[in-house]
Amino acid sequence: MQARWRFALAVAVLAALMTGPFVLTGVMVWADASGEARATLRLLAGQWLPLGLLTTATGFALGIALLARLFRHYVQGLLRMAEGLDVLRRANPGFRVPEEGPREVVALAQAINRIADERDRLLAGLDERVLEARRAVEEERNRLAALMAQLAEAVIVCNAEGRIILYNEAARRLERAFGAPATAAASGWIGLGRSIHALLDPDLVAHVFDSIDALRGQGEVHPSMQVVTATPAGALIRVRVSPIAGEAAGEEISGYVLMLEDVTDQIEREASRNELLFELTEGNRAAIANIRLAAEMLHLPDVDEAMRARFHAVIVREVEAVSERLEAASRAFADALRARWPLEPMRGADLVRAAEAYLRRRLDVALKLEILDEELWFDADHFSLLQALAFLAGRLVEDYGVRTLRLRLSGDDRLVYLDLMWSGGSLSNEIVTGWELEPLGLGGTRSPLTLRDVLERHGAAMWFDREKARHRAFVRLALPRKRSVRRLPPPATPAVPTTQEEGRPEFYDFDLFAWSAEATALEDRPLTELSYTVFDTETTGLDPAGGDEIIQIGATRIVNGRLLKHESFEQLIDPRRPLDPASIAVHHITPEMLEGQPTIAEVLPAFHRFAQDTVLVAHNAAFDMRFLQLKEEKLGIRFDQPVLDTLLLAAFILPNQEHSLEALARYFGVRVFGRHTALGDALVTAEIFLKMIPLLAEKGVVTLRQAREASQQTYYARLRY
């Protein structure tokens, strides 16, 4: 009931209560009275009634005023308060109930406002904690990502089933060693949710995992195993595997950490050292045997002139042959001859600058740098070389009172020279040679290495010399110059359009620990759990049967409901036929761009590998699938994965909308970058597909089977119209 009506009712009741008893008494008195008494009553009433009415009316007015006041303060006040509470609860948390009205109402309002304050404090704390937690997680994530990226070793973590949960850049770079084509931006070898069986022989993996299990069974706390395996591309990979599990004996292994290293070079070096050794020992045996035999023959008194001449010639010829072999071997195996200390290529200028800082902290000496060539490279063990320089400088300063040292870097074709120069005072090479045998150490730090160790490690030599004209003396360290510095090119990553807030690419997904692909048949698994390859193609035209060809494939992956943009695939393809000018207007791919690109015969198998074990998704998939399927027989591959079409799915959930990719992107609020590049379209399709999954679920479409059935319905519906 509205307050107005309730007020009217209250007034009516008040009126009735004030007049009712009086009227009732009057009626009863009137009914009981005789004719004479009635006349008296009438007289009295005529005389007193106006006064009575007046006082009653006054009382009534006072009553109404009181009632109105009560209403305004209690009934209407409480209703206002209730509305205020709604505002406070839903619309504006900062709103406070006005503390006015009678004491009781004010007390209530105050209590309400206190509760609101309390709520705000709790919420604020909660928000802060949520933010804090998110920040901590984000920080940890970034730290992990940075750490993983810094590791030179390739690291892959997989779950017990062999699905990849985490990997780093180094692992991606290693894909080449497994035979990933250099042209394709991403291959099907390493990716979240992918099986490591693509990389490593399943039998080998099973053997290693079983062996680790067995080791744990024997009570080993940190079992690990190492194997070397050959890749199809001919590289040798060393794989070190450790399990991820608690230390308790019974605890199940939830996954494995694999550290991979390409040891092809290492083993080749080893082999070439062996070859060298063999060449120098066994290879010379016959020749030296001849020489020795000839020498002994020449020694015999009864050898005739002819034979003497013959064996003389043998000696000359064989000694020449041995010398030549020696030369050839030392040329061919120069690298193998050097000590096998892990050396890194480094630039001389960098070392000299580092040495300057290192010496300044340790020695009381004025230092000057003289870098004659910035691009002198050599292989060095950075720190031991620094120690060697510091040792030499220390000797010069402490034993010879040198106050100003000049660090000079120069070089020629073959050698790099690091000189410690000073003016005046002379040394001898005997002293310098003596230093070589002393342990390096400076300012109390002791190193077990001697200068000679460091020199040998670097294949270096050291001597003392003078520049007479400038009256300078110097100790020179000579190192073999490195001619070509091979820097590994960064792996080609597709130009994935990203926005600022999306941050760095993610190379891990710990939710995959709990992932089991074999738990249920693919068809009955929820859409949210499947892995998808969302792809798009650009073609020379619209008629694959008439000879139109694919000129670009772009694809991206969805794993565990996440779009993995950094695991994208993008490749131009030489169609070996002219482009239709009309199609160039659509995709802007010109014939020049296709020159030198691989053919479909090379790219499609790579894409097939990329898409293995996933559900294919495309917008108007039938079109793209026709192009793929026409190539299947010729290339001996089959795209027999389940296929979902975002066009058909859109028709199912939004029957009254337009279903073009642009329209759907608008509807779902998906930002469009680079439309009409295959990867750009694939990314848009993928985001649309992800937004469709919850809408499909509202319509009861949860599993892959249901999605396929729904697509079919709309497909037939479209046919019918």
Binding site: R285, I288, A289, N290, I291, L293, V303, M307, V314
Partner: protein
């Protein structure tokens, strides 16, 4: 009667020098330049000792040694490898195939002659 030594080596200088040295030491000497020639000569010449290089054309010394040791006619014949194959594994192989000694090149002529002498007198005793 002088003991007979068959020298098997493809290196002409070795063959000439050994021929000279062994004749000088009082042995009857025949020479073969490859494995098959050696097998034929072993039959006609009937040597008491064969000086054998492992690395030979056509049939290598190890194979020759194995065949000779399978033939009962050469049961008394000594086989001494004199070879440029110096690895332990080659020595083990030669001895396993039935050789009586294994000398590696380069060698001292004095030691070689002593070794030949020792093998031949041991065979006579």
């Amino acid at each position: 009667m002088a003991k007979k030594v068959l020298v098997v080596d493809s290196d002409e200088n070795i063959v000439i020098a050994l021929d000279f040295l062994l004749r000088r030491a009082g042995y009857e000497v025949a020479v073969a330049r490859d494995g098959e020639e050696a097998l034929a000569l072993a039959d006609s010449f009937a040597p008491d000792l064969i000086l054998l290089e492992a690395a030979l054309p056509r049939m290598d010394g190890f194979e020759l040694c194995r065949r000779l040791r399978q033939d009962p006619r050469y049961g008394e014949c000594k086989i001494l490898f004199l070879t440029a194959r110096g690895r332990d594994i080659d020595r083990a192989k030669g001895l396993a195939l039935g050789a009586d000694g294994y000398l590696t090149k380069p060698f001292s002529t004095k030691e070689l002659l002593e070794h030949v002498e020792r093998l031949l007198t041991a065979g006579a005793a």
